[in-house]
Amino acid sequence: MNTLDSRSLRTGDCFGQKFSVPGEVRYFVSAGGELVPEARQRSEGGYILQVVKAASGAKSKQHNVHVTRKGNTLEASPAKLEIQAGDGVLWYTTDPAVTGFHVAGAGKEFHFSSACIETNAVYTHVFGVPGTYEWRDPHGTSIHGKVEVANVIHRNSDERSQWYESLKQPATFEIKGGKSSPASVKIVVGQTVFWSITDSKGVAITDSQLLPAKAK
């Protein structure tokens, strides 16, 4: 747990994607950060997401999909999902046996991937270990940022309660127009950081320590 990498989602990570175009989306949940062949080239297997036209005046909703490991297979629950255009789907795991997954899918006019995030998506990560995390996009863009995570050591329940309350406040990065802002955020252990990807040509959020030197 606690590796910062949207290409390999674990407990404490979430990936959310908005679906604005009606139609069928076939998506796959797999280990590692790459799907071969990619979702756009597949017409079988995976999970089906039906995106129906939104009713007039309908508010967008969030649908959660829980990922678990069964033997050597990663499973998504619920397996079938029908949503309205404009709704979002958020994938996450609480299964310690899941050592990392990514989700990727495609419809006729739309594709998405947690390893190469393009538009109207969110990645969240809970930081459980103190330190300074320099994150970068492994796909070669200059998008990057820094998260400074302060340790907290409490000796009584009041302090722990105050700390727990602080966890309800996230820190945020917004990725838009090839840039990320703010440049850095400061949080304490246990706080969540949201990356909102409004538009990009395909970005991942990865701890630079996980990347080869030339990509740092």
């Binding site: 967008s60 958020l90 310690p96 809970v126 409490h154 966890l167 309800k168 246990g190």
Partner: protein
């Protein structure tokens, strides 16, 4: 009537003891034992030093304050769920998204500890002369397992365990706010009694039957060297060896030998 008699007073016997402690060297043992509610695996190295001799006729050497110098490598496992509260990350909403509530399962961690200290024992040792292979030995063997005096060692080990816990769980996500709670809880269930029990279990086998060889003499030894073709080496054989503590104005360890040419 013995042919050779040698006597050692308390000072000389103390010197013999200290030489014997050095000759005995470092003893090692590994195994498992109880550390409070935990099962600890250990490897232990022990050496003996010091001690003050008091000679008690007819055959007892009382030795006070022998140092047991011990080094321990310990490890034990802790399921953190046994000591830390269940903990769930709160649901957080932002950018129109809400994270699910995620509950943390604490891991089981192994706590490694290195610790060295000195304990002491005081006990009665019986003097025995025996032929072992080709050597005559004078051994002093502890009569019973004495109380091992740990001094401040138990408290020091407890402190070391606390420090080791802090170091070993540093990688565990979200542990920071619970670290003090964890160390306090684990040390409370171990307690001084747990540490004393483990140290006793580890060191007692080294003390039980503890024997120092204070005198070692080959049964056959030359008294005159070879001086030429017609003058060969002259050897003497010790046919009997005795060792007792004799009462006198100052008690002495007396070693007597009978020889044959």
């Amino acid at each position: 009537m013995p042919d050779i008699i040698a006597a050692a007073d308390t000072t000389a016997t103390t010197d013999l003891l200290h030489d014997a402690e050095s000759t005995l060297g470092t003893l090692s043992k590994s195994g498992g034992g109880s550390l409070g509610p935990f099962v600890a695996n250990y490897s232990a190295s022990v050496s003996f030093s010091g001690g003050t001799v008091n000679l008690l006729p007819p055959n007892v050497i009382q030795i006070a304050d022998i140092n047991i110098n011990y080094s321990l490598g310990l490890s034990f496992g802790i399921d953190l769920n046994d000591f830390l509260p269940s903990f769930c990350l709160p649901q957080i909403c932002f950018f129109g998204w809400c994270t699910p509530k995620i509950c943390i399962t604490w891991p089981t961690v192994t706590i490694p500890i290195s610790f060295s200290d000195t304990a002491t024992i005081t006990g009665d040792f019986t003097v025995t002369a025996l032929l072992s292979g080709a050597d005559w030995l004078v051994d002093v063997t502890i009569d019973s397992v004495p109380l091992i005096q740990f001094g401040a060692g138990t408290a020091a080990l407890l402190v070391a365990i606390g420090a080791a816990i802090t170091a070993a769980v540093g990688w565990v996500p979200f542990i920071g706010p619970f670290l003090a709670l964890l160390a306090d809880a684990v040390l409370a269930v171990i307690g001084i009694a747990g540490v004393t029990g483990l140290l006793g279990d580890i060191l007692t086998p080294f003390v039980s039957g503890l024997t120092f060889t204070v005198y070692n003499q080959p049964q056959l030894f030359p008294v005159l060297p070879n001086s030429g073709p017609n003058d060969p080496e002259v050897d003497v054989t010790i046919t009997a060896l005795g060792a007792v503590v004799q009462a006198s104005d100052k008690n002495e360890l007396v070693i007597s030998a009978s020889i044959a040419a």
